[in-house]
Every structure is written in C-alpha cells, then in structure tokens.
C-alpha cells in the first residue's frame, strides 16, 4: 500500500513538473487586479422586497409593504459579511415592521431599524416580485439545497428534497412560502436569507468574467430602487465578489409569536446579532 502511495506521489510530481514546463514554454502570464474597497470600513445595507410593483401588482414599490427585510453588514477590510433576517411580521415600536415601508418609505423604514438595532444604515435597495424574478433569471438561476420537501399552493412552492437550481419564478415561490413551513414567518425569512447567500455566490462566480459581471450588474440595477449612486455600483460589486461565500454569516432572528388585536405578530429576540455587528464582529 505504501509503495502504491509513493508511486502515485511520484507520478503526481512528474505531472506537475510537466505541466509547469508546458506553461513556461507557452509563456503564459496572468494579471488579475481587483482593487480593494476604499470607502468606509463597515458598510450596512438594508435590502427590501416590496409587495408592490408592475406588472402583477401595479403601484410604487417604495410605498408597498415590505415582504422581505434583511440587513447586510460588510466588513470591507476583512472581507466578511453578516446577513440578518428580520421577519416581516416583527412588532417594532408599536407596528408591524413591514408597514413602515408604506407609511414612511424606505428611508423611514431604515430609520426605524436604525433605532431598533443601533446600527447606522448606509444604503437601502428595494425590489419587487417581478424584479426578483428577473434578477434570478439573469443569474441563470440560483442553487439551493433543501433539507426537506416544500409545498404551498398559495405561493406556488413545490420542491423536493435536495440540491436544485431555482429559476426566477421558483425563487419567488421559495421566498414567499410561509404556510408550507412549520415555523411560518421565521422559516420564510430564513429562506429569503438563504436565497441572498446563494445569489451572492452566483455573483461571485462571475468575478473574473468581467463582461458577464457588467451585464449582471445592469440587470440588478434595472430591477432595484436604491440610494446607492449609479457610479458607485461597480465598486460595490467589486467589494461583494471579493467576499468568499464561506465568510458570509447568516443570522435568522428568532422570537415568539403573539396577537395584537386581530393581527398575528412576531416578538423579536435579536440576541447578540446587532451587538456583534456594532462591535465589529462581522462574518464567520
């Protein structure tokens, strides 16, 4: 057995030497330059999925209700990120958090979450159902691994167990499904966070295919309302793709459920999620 291993090792070394020789003969040289982010060290972005937006739900998406709310904190120097999922039914300062988008707009929602979390939100970005669908399709789908099957006629979610690539329509169903999950709103929000991580992975796949990355950024930009300046978009993308998938921490917030009047609400228990970000403990 030992001899076989030694022989295998020698063969591998020979193959490596031969490969190196060939590369030298061809004079192959590569240059891969991607400058570091030169803005602030910590960046906090609020991501919002609105329930309004044409064609299915005409109206201003910035005045809809927020069906998906996620805070993404990035440590630009250490190239790490944390995604915090906030259930839409969370009861914050006397109202469901999803209503703040319709009553105060994205800036107002950001201020409420700043007060709640103690974080300073630098930017926000919002999309609609159709926007999410188009973005996922432009990425050629996103890979998701499901520990158990999922079915919900209302959202259209019908997925078997295991790894699969979701197209835009399927990704939308996956992120909207609540009734087919044992933990309801918590589970739905957690799945949205998983979708975000998967989308980040797809964006990172294109980090050295620069024409594809440019086209993808165009699609993301066309399907998002944001206060990130258009001229800064590529720099944000450079920062995003420089973060390894394994350095993204996903924190689905937990809590309890209750009733306020006739409405079912979530009482959040953020634990140390926001304190960690405030203390600079971002990512894994």
């Amino acid at each position: 057995m030992k001899r076989v291993l030694v022989l295998l090792g020698v063969m591998l070394l020979l193959a490596a030497a031969l490969g190196a020789g060939l590369a030298t003969a061809g004079g192959l040289r590569r240059v891969s330059l991607r400058p570091d982010w030169n803005g602030q060290r910590r960046l906090v972005v609020l991501l919002i999925g609105s329930d309004l937006g044409p064609p299915a739900r005409p109206g201003n998406l910035l005045r809809g209700r927020a069906d998906a709310i996620h805070i993404v904190a990035v440590d630009a120097k250490r190239k790490r990120a944390t995604i915090v999922d906030i259930p839409r039914d969370s009861y914050i300062f006397g109202s469901k958090v999803n209503a703040y988008l319709s009553t105060r707009g994205p800036d107002g929602l950001a201020r409420v979450l700043e007060d709640y979390s103690g974080l300073e939100i630098d930017y926000w970005a919002a999309t609609s159902f159709a926007g999410l669908r188009r973005m996922v399709d432009a990425m050629d789908g996103v890979p998701i691994s499901l520990p158990r099957s999922m079915y919900d006629a209302g959202s259209g979610a019908d997925f078997s167990t295991g790894r699969q690539r979701l197209n835009g329509e399927e990704a939308l169903s996956f992120s909207r499904n609540r009734k087919g999950l044992v933990d309801g709103d918590f589970g739905r929000t957690r799945n949205q966070g998983r979708l975000l991580r998967a989308a980040h992975g797809r964006l990172r796949d294109h980090r050295w295919d620069l024409p594809a990355l440019t086209r993808l950024l165009g699609t993301l930009s066309r399907n998002t309302e944001t206060n990130i300046p258009a001229r800064k978009l590529f720099e944000f993308a450079q920062l995003g793709v420089s973060i390894k998938r394994s350095d993204v921490r996903h924190v689905p917030l937990s809590g309890g459920v209750g009733m306020v009047g006739l409405e079912s609400v979530v009482y959040l228990n953020p634990g140390g999620a926001f304190a960690d970000i405030r203390a600079g403990r971002i990512g894994r």
Binding site: V31, P35, L213, L233
Partner: protein
C-alpha cells in the same frame, strides 16, 4: 483595434415601474463614443508598451491605462505580463490583428462602466530573436476623479509560435 460589438446595458430602473429603459439616439451615440474612447485608450497602451521605441518595455504606459488603485496592486509578475519588464529588451515590434468587444453600463446619458474584452497580437524582436505575443482578456474602465481608467483587470499574455504560424503553443491554451 477593430471593435466587433458594442453592447448597451442600461441601469435605469424604469422597468420596475412598467416602462422600458430609455434607449434613444443620443444614448446610443454616447454609448458608442464611450466604447471608442476606452478602446483607443487600450490601443494607446498596447502600442506604447509593445511597439513605440521610446516607451516599449517600460511601465510608463500603465499610468494612462490603470487607476491608481489598480497600479498599487501591481506585482513583478503582473508587470511582466503587462509590460514585458524583466525579460530580454524589445528591439523592434509591430502590432498584428486586434479585436475588441465592449459592454457599456450607463445610467441614461451618464456612462458608469466600460468593459473591454480584447485580443491583440504582436510581432516583436526580443533579445535578437523574433517572437509573437498575444494579449487577451478584459478590463473594466471606471471614472476616477474625472478620468477614466482600468480598475478591474483579468488579462493573459501568451507567447506564440514563430512568425508564420498563428497557432498557440500547446501549453498556453
């Protein structure tokens, strides 16, 4: 350098409000102008690095090509690939066929990123021996303090067989 294709990628998000992004004649002209401008910048760098007697083999042409942030990342290996520094001196050179495809990201009339994917060949005389080189890859040009410079670079340099044979060496493919 021949531009074989210019793709126009709008950032305007009017599609979210149910409208198509603007794509009028003025925008198309501005997109083509930006594409030509950055391809010219790339071509000037290629000529200065591989052909011009005064500047070839030096790192001077990189100043007009790369952003300050990108230049700070340059290591010896990058310099060898971008300027041929560290090898035999270039005694003579001429450009052979070069082609480029361009993707322009824009918010209306404001251009925000220009990505040039190119493939350029050169016939050089280095260290007394003729040599054919090909540089190919992509560069993203971004506006930096009012100047457009390449900020994100993914480029490869190949040495090809002797003149008269346009095929790549086996090891470099």
């Amino acid at each position: 350098m021949q531009i074989t294709r210019v793709s126009d990628v709008p950032q305007a998000n009017s599609v979210l409000r149910g409208n198509e992004p603007q794509s009028g004649g003025r925008i198309k002209r501005a997109v083509r102008k930006a594409a030509r401008r950055e391809v010219s910048r790339l071509q000037r760098y290629l000529n200065a690095t591989f052909v011009e007697p005064r500047t070839r083999g030096t790192r001077a042409p990189l100043r007009a090509l790369l952003s300050a942030r990108a230049r700070r990342l340059l290591g010896p290996r990058d310099l060898r690939a971008l300027t041929l520094r560290g090898g035999p001196p270039i005694q003579g050179g001429r450009r052979t066929r070069a082609r480029a495809r361009v993707v322009v990201l824009h918010a209306g009339l404001r251009m925000t990123a220009v990505t040039v994917t190119y493939n350029a060949g050169f016939s050089l005389l280095r260290g007394g021996a003729p040599q054919r080189l090909r540089q190919q890859g992509s560069m993203v040009f971004l506006p930096r303090a009012g100047r457009w410079r390449a900020d994100h670079v993914a480029v490869r340099l190949f040495r090809q067989r002797q003149p008269g044979n346009d095929r790549r060496d086996k090891g470099s493919s």
